[in-house]
């Protein structure tokens, strides 16, 4: 059980507070409700580029990192398709420095040309390092547009292509900031050995006078239901063939998401999973194989992926994956197999909540997509999943006309 209190500032900023007496640190997590899905299709990669610019100095503070490091703090951030998250930890006595820094960059960025020019270069190098200069690095750049035709999940957070980043202008930066980086579009959580009223006073002091902004309705197109199998085959200079097979499932807020998560665990989590045992150990079809859900806010995917052993064809490997899909559809899952993945989920949560920052981040994410209290209901929802539910979901959503299949072929030597 994670206790918390919730407050809302007059400018719309939602504040969560969690008391943790066991740590000398305080955590501040700020989640902005903006991600790659909010981008213009001709300017993709922008939400992530913008995250870099948030470290390039704010109106009154030329460097974000330096004053934080000077009081013993450390911070980072990430952007995904749904949201952008900024987080820091520091000695609890120095909490106010963290609030001072975060509030100034929420209030107004410095918008320096130098920062934009340099970070464009840095992000283009990041694009190359992660997606282009790695074997199999471009898989998701290919698999997303195969799976989504309309919804902005069709592009990756890094962007569709390098040129979109190269062409970003200062006007784009300012527009994005005033549209999305407003208190009403953010959730902050402060956690540590602190008192609620002191935290509320300090957050009000630093964030209270930032103009709230207006919530802009999101007009994100809904992905139409897939009616026939989608297939893409590409060839690259890599050692082994690789197979991706995905199915559209539900979003994070749907009642079925916990069942999908457990189904992916039964199939693909760890060395006692069905796919690993049958297709890596017994039949030696794959050298590695996995199954997971993307866990997006809007309807996401259940994805199978695996590297294929030399001498096995992609077609044959795909057939073996289908056999497992058919088994899930044909047989109600055994209670003990389901209990196994439920226990794993439970202990995963216990370990994760031993850390003050993961609790602060978890509270913010739950608040953004449900309400913070969902964090304490999640385990119960996993426990309630049953075998017939899994079977029905598989029968409804895991059919050949609903599959998106990518053959990532190794170039013949």
């Amino acid at each position: 059980m994670i206790d918390y209190q919730k407050f809302t500032l007059s400018n719309g900023l939602r504040l969560l507070f969690h008391e943790d007496k066991n740590t000398p640190l305080a955590a501040i997590n700020i989640l902005y409700d903006v991600g790659a899905r909010d981008e213009d299709p001709s300017k993709t990669g922008f939400a992530h580029l913008f995250e870099h610019l948030m470290f390039g100095g704010s109106k009154n503070i030329p460097s974000f990192d330096e004053p934080l490091q000077r009081v013993g703090g450390e911070n980072n951030a990430y952007t995904n398709n749904d949201h952008t998250n900024y987080y820091l930890t520091l000695p609890v006595e120095n909490l106010e420095t963290g609030l001072w820094l975060e509030s100034d960059r929420m209030n107004e960025l410095a918008f320096t040309t130098k920062s934009l020019e340099v970070q464009r270069q840095v992000v283009m190098e990041e694009f190359k390092q992660r997606y282009l200069n790695q074997p199999y690095g471009d898989t998701w750049l290919q698999f997303r547009p195969l799976s989504y035709k309309v919804h902005p999940y069709r592009w990756a957070t890094i962007g569709m292509e390098l040129s979109h980043i190269a062409n970003a202008t200062m006007d784009d930066v300012k527009d994005f900031f005033y549209r999305y980086y407003r208190p009403s579009n953010a959730v902050i959580c402060v956690a540590g050995n602190l008192e609620a009223n002191k935290v509320v006073d300090l957050v009000n002091k630093w964030f209270g006078d930032i103009p709230g902004g207006t919530m802009i309705p999101k007009n994100i197109p809904v992905e139409p239901e897939q009616t026939e199998r989608r297939f893409l085959e590409i060839t690259r200079n890599v050692p082994d063939d690789m197979l991706y097979m995905g199915f559209h499932i539900c979003g994070k807020n749907d009642d079925n998401i916990h069942a999908w998560d457990l189904m992916s665990d039964v199939l693909g989590r760890g060395s006692s999973s069905r796919l690993y045992h049958d297709l890596v150990k017994e039949k030696e079809i794959f050298s590695q194989v996995g199954c997971y859900i993307t866990g997006d806010h809007h309807p996401g995917m259940l994805v199978f992926s695996g590297k294929i052993r030399p001498g096995i064809s992609l077609e044959e490997a795909e057939k073996h994956l289908w056999n497992h899909v058919e088994t899930i559809k044909a047989q109600v899952m055994d209670e003990s197999e389901l209990a196994k993945v439920k226990n794993k989920t439970e202990s995963g949560m216990v370990f994760s909540w031993m850390n003050v920052l993961s609790k602060a981040t978890g509270l913010c994410i739950n608040e953004l997509y449900h309400d913070a209290g969902e964090i304490n209901r999640t385990l119960g929802k996993y426990q309630a999943v049953n075998g017939p539910q899994l079977q029905q979901l598989a029968q409804r959503f895991l059919n050949p006309h609903q599959a998106c299949v990518l053959y990532y072929r190794a170039q013949q030597k």
Binding site: L25, E66, E125, S271, S347
Partner: protein, 430 residues
């Protein structure tokens, strides 16, 4: 009244952090069990350390294969039955083969400690090491290595290791995919029997520790034969002469650069001070390398400098992936930053910032029983204790700019560095 946002709120000095300690229980066989208790936790982490690892064999892949297959079944359980049993308790089990030590780590809810540890005990005493499991493991290991060899970052680092340690040393040997095929059950069994089975020397347990757990250890771990051999038995390293190497990756659009040299061991008296110097140089986001090469020039997504130190050898490493067209410029800037450490005294403000950053890092690394267990294990396994931690903190607090400049002059001469480049362009530095 509006606030003045240009003024930083008052900050509290953090230069005297509290050091949380561990307690040690000696089992009947002399095995030390270090404990760090957190009554509020629901879970527990156990680490079992064995004095064997990559150092213990000349056969490539053997130590890592043995570690991997060790957890794949026992005389009683098949590989699937064993992993299912562990997973059914929601526990996490891993066996990590490092250069000097092999570590078995268990994360489990406290309520399942006994049944989970009973399984682990069976694995320690009666591993199956089935040939079929070994063959699948080595074939897949081979495939992974073939993929790794396509990565510029991998070939750069493995060639750099060869320069630092010599091609015959376990840390310098560049593995060949075919090596994996030579490993069979008899090798793994021999490694287990001669190297691992008698090699436990330390246990660390952290989190919710109950008296039933201590009792379990007295009943079980006290039966294991204890390692009495010296902690170092690895071969001496023999650094190679070359100082520039280029590996061609025709399709690469970035170069992976590794610059650095062989360095002293973890026990060297200069280590604590050197850690401060290298953090300032390339060990945090605001470091000189990051500031110049990423934040000023935009040549890279990231650049770092660090030390890999062991009981009888070590290395200093600078690593980055940079755009092909700016590779030579990046090398020039790295050398420039090294030279600056030799030529100029570090300004007080910068040094104070790094001191505080490192003290904050110390607090983070000591946050919670599980985190503390990692810090203490790293010291205790090397025969070090609380005094070494104090010495590290003192070095952070008190090393002067003059001391650091002298260290740079002794260890960080730009011309003493090796450089390895993997990419599509031979930049021919040096």
């Amino acid at each position: 009244m509006s606030i003045d946002r240009t003024i930083q709120p008052p900050a509290v000095d953090i230069s005297s952090p509290i050091i949380p300690f561990y307690e040690t229980i000696l089992l009947a066989n002399g095995l030390p069990v270090h404990t760090i208790s957190d009554e509020t936790a629901e879970a527990v982490k156990v680490s079992l350390f064995f004095n064997a690892g990559l150092k213990s064999t000349a056969m490539p892949f053997l130590a890592s294969t043995a570690a991997s297959v060790w957890q794949q079944g026992t005389a009683k359980y098949s590989s699937l039955a064993f992993s299912t049993a562990i997973d059914s308790y929601g526990a996490y089990l891993s066996v990590t083969p490092a250069y000097e030590f092999t570590e078995i780590t268990i994360h489990t809810l406290a309520k399942y400690f006994i049944p989970v540890m009973d399984l682990v005990m069976e694995m320690i005493l009666q591993p199956a090491f089935r040939e079929s499991d070994i063959q699948v493991d080595t074939k897949n290991r081979k495939q992974r290595l073939i993929t790794e060899l396509k990565k510029t970052s991998f070939t750069a680092m493995s060639n750099f290791n060869k320069l630092c340690y010599g091609g015959l040393h376990p840390l310098g040997y560049t593995a060949n995919p075919a090596d994996a095929e030579n490993i069979h059950r008899l090798h793994v069994l021999d490694f287990y029997e001669k190297k691992l089975a008698n090699a436990i020397f330390s246990v660390m347990i952290s989190g919710k520790i109950g008296s039933n757990m201590v009792h379990w250890m007295e009943l079980n771990l006290a039966k294991l034969p204890l390692d009495h051999t010296a902690k170092v038995e690895g071969p001496p390293s023999s650094p190679e002469g070359a100082n520039y190497l280029f590996n061609l990756h025709p399709e690469a659009n970035q170069s992976s650069l590794v610059m650095g040299k062989s360095l002293f061991s973890r026990l060297h008296p200069d280590f604590p001070k050197m850690r401060l110097l290298i953090t300032l140089f390339g060990g945090y986001f605001g470091s000189r390398l990051m500031t110049n090469i990423r934040e000023e020039k935009g040549y890279t997504y990231g650049i770092s400098a660090y030390m890999n130190l062991y009981l009888n050898c070590g290395q200093f490493v600078i690593r980055t992936d940079v755009g092909t067209e700016v590779s030579a410029m990046a090398v020039k800037e790295i050398r420039h930053e090294l030279q600056r450490l030799l030529d100029e005294e570090i300004p007080k403000q910068e040094l104070d910032l790094v001191r505080n950053y490192m003290l904050g890092t110390y607090l983070r690394s000591m946050d919670g029983a599980l985190a503390q267990s990692e810090i203490w294990s790293r010291l205790l396994n090397y025969g070090l204790g609380p005094e070494a931690l104090e010495a590290n903190l003192d070095a952070v607090r008190f090393t002067t700019a003059k001391d650091l400049q002298a260290l740079a002059q002794e260890y960080l001469l730009p011309d003493s560095m090796n450089l390895v480049v993997s990419g599509s362009l031979d930049i021919g530095c040096f």
